[in-house]
């Protein structure tokens, strides 16, 4: 039993002027818009819900199989299937109105114009607190190479989106680059209010029984515990390189893996693939971080952010 006057540790954090009650969010694409998971957990207890990538018009996504399991992880090539921003606003954002949590809207596009169009269509969406821009999407103009792999391109797209956006802009970085810190600096130079990292790492699995690719798309993005040490390293490198807040993700399954990310420099964390294994993972992480803070007498989570230098 806790004493009445036993002060709860302060778990709140701030990202680009937006206050979150705790640093635990969901990772885009693993949580829909929260509706399905609301049958298992109380969304009010999350720092934020990050919604599945949405584009200016509906996208059909890739052929199946879209996923496969790998040791301590999975590959996915969903292909950013989404119902388009109009339906998303009317249905998904409306659903989220009933909850006392922050909403981060993840945006995707095939061209700068498509991103800008989608961001403009979200301008007066009151329920969207932050925008998270997925720049791992195939750039149609550049022959399908992801936007997020060239620093000049990253700065340009960030600046274009910043000009159109009414909400703070978080750029979600691809780890499929040689120097992640360089990309982070480019996003900061373009005016980003924060960074989100990491997206999935490109991989491939072969089905030896069928002697072909396990995924119809041939390659897919690796996620889950298998990528956690890479994500921690990249968050750490970027935290040293920029002065904007970082949302850390990649293989978070429990409080320990979340705290590692926070100590490496993340202001908040997102739980992705682990939601598939246990629908209540996010809440376990919130509780586990609180337990850690009580055990080690940490008054504010902010004292842990980037404490490892």
């Amino acid at each position: 039993m806790k004493m009445e006057d036993d002060a709860m540790p302060d778990m709140s954090v701030e990202i680009a002027g937006v206050r979150l009650k705790n640093p635990v969010m969901t990772a885009s694409g693993t949580f829909g818009s929260g509706q399905e998971f609301s049958e298992f957990i109380d969304l009010n207890r999350l720092g934020a819900v990050v919604t599945k990538g949405v584009a200016s018009v509906p996208w059909p996504g890739n052929p199946t199989p879209r996923i496969c399991e790998t040791p301590s992880g999975m590959l996915n090539a969903i292909g950013l299937q989404n119902p388009g921003v109009e339906t998303f606003r009317e249905r998904d954002l409306k659903f989220l109105e009933q909850f006392d949590t922050r909403v981060v809207v993840n945006v995707c596009g095939h061209s700068v114009a498509e991103y800008v169009d989608c961001v403009e269509k979200l301008a007066d969406a009151k329920r969207a607190d932050l925008l998270e821009i997925n720049i791992s999407c195939p750039n149609v103009k550049e022959g399908g190479i992801a936007f997020g792999t060239d620093p000049r391109g990253v700065e340009e797209i960030t600046a274009a989106i910043k000009k159109a956006a009414k909400q703070p802009v978080i750029m979600k970085l691809s780890p499929n680059v040689t120097d992640i810190a360089e990309i982070a600096r480019a996003a900061e130079a373009g005016g980003a209010d924060g960074l989100s990292m990491i997206n999935t790492i490109t991989g491939m699995k072969i089905d030896i029984r069928r002697r072909t690719y396990a995924l119809a798309n041939r390659t897919g993005g690796l996620s889950g515990p298998a990528i956690h040490p890479i994500a921690v390293r990249m968050v750490y490198q970027c935290a040293q390189a920029v002065n904007i807040p970082i949302i850390g993700m990649g293989g978070i399954t429990d409080a320990e893996s979340a705290l590692e990310m926070i100590m490496a420099g993340a202001t908040a964390v997102s739980v992705g693939t682990a939601n598939f294994h246990d629908q209540t993972t996010t809440l376990r992480v919130v509780e586990g971080i609180r337990d850690y803070m009580e055990q080690y007498h940490v008054e504010s989570i902010r004292d842990l952010i980037g404490c490892v230098r």
Partner: protein, 317 residues
């Protein structure tokens, strides 16, 4: 939306019923009581390096005892692990998931004439009850066991209601309001169930289906019943149905979709696809739909949520 539960199932028994085929019985708290035929559960590996759930159809569910029956074939590492589960061990389960078979279609009277016309049974079909095929190919047979049992129980319950209500007129009158769905009382007449089962060679679950109607067997090697597949058996025996429920490998489902179109038979297919969340959040498991789907806004439907059972005319295979 039907309720889903996450719970630990306790293994009651696990026995081998064929080469690489296992019959797992689990004690559940809520899942068995909520389960409908054609729904499935997500079963999780106790080896935490395997993150994703394995979807397995509900083969049996006892709402009173909470016993859940899953019958599966060892197909890889996860099912191999489940084959070694011993009584008393625990596994994480989420379910029941998916839509299940539309039971009311086995009792429907509205458009059942279309098909019945051809053999001159049009006038009597409403009273006679619909002819139902339960078609299972290989490891698609398990859900048919629970479906056969439930259809039979529903028909009995409806019969009892009709009997206690007295005259056949009352029975007819109440049947008019059954459109609301599966729970409606006043079903007109018990369906005639024929299970059509396709095997490679070795038979399993045949005895589980015998109490509910005729069982027709096809084997690829001809060791039992018709040599060939389920459609070969249907054609050889000149069987006809008003409604088909089927589960099995995609080539079988594709052939049935075509058969249903050619013969104008109502047909419901249970599909398989790789799943990550099992609850409708990740869009891993989609199939192609003929029309733009209300949820996805594209021609895609989630097998785990809008399915796994689809009307054959609503999907592309």
């Amino acid at each position: 939306m039907a309720e889903k539960f996450r719970e630990q199932g306790v293994v009651l028994s696990n026995g081998q019923i064929g080469t690489g085929i296992f019959d797992l019985k689990l004690k559940t708290d809520k899942i068995a009581a909520a389960a409908k035929p054609g729904q499935f559960v997500s079963i999780y590996s106790n080896d935490k390096s395997r993150l994703l759930p394995r979807p397995i159809s509900i083969c049996g569910a006892d709402s009173e005892t909470g016993e859940l029956r899953l019958t599966f074939r060892v197909a890889g590492k996860g099912t191999e692990e489940f084959s070694r589960l011993a009584a008393g061990e625990k596994v994480d389960l989420v379910g029941p998931l998916g839509n299940g078979f539309p039971l009311e279609r086995a009792f429907a009277t509205d458009d059942s004439r279309n098909c019945a016309d051809r053999d001159g049974a049009a006038e009597s079909v409403g009273v006679k009850g619909r002819r139902v095929f339960l078609i299972g190919g290989g490891i698609g047979i398990p859900p048919m066991v629970q479906l056969a049992k439930t259809l039979t129980e529903r028909a009995q319950a409806a019969g009892d209601t009709a009997a206690s209500a007295g005259s056949p007129e009352t029975f007819q009158a109440s049947a008019g309001s059954q459109a609301a769905g599966a729970n409606a009382v006043g079903f007109q007449a018990a369906p005639f169930i024929t299970s059509v089962l396709g095997f490679r060679d070795e038979l399993f679950l045949v005895d589980d289906l015998k109490p509910y109607g005729d069982v027709v067997i096809a084997t690829e090697d001809g060791s039992c019943g018709t040599k060939g597949n389920v459609l070969d058996a249907i054609r050889e025996k000149n069987l006809k149905a008003d409604v088909i429920y089927a589960c099995g490998p995609t080539p079988m489902l594709r052939a049935l979709k075509k058969y249903a179109e050619e013969t104008g038979t109502e047909c419901w297919l249970s599909l398989e696809e790789k799943m990550a969340c099992g609850i409708g959040a990740c869009l891993s498991c989609v199939c192609r739909s003929t029309e733009v789907d209300g949820h996805s806004k594209v021609k895609n439907k989630r097998v785990c949520t809008e399915g796994p059972v689809f009307r054959s005319t609503d999907i592309e295979l």
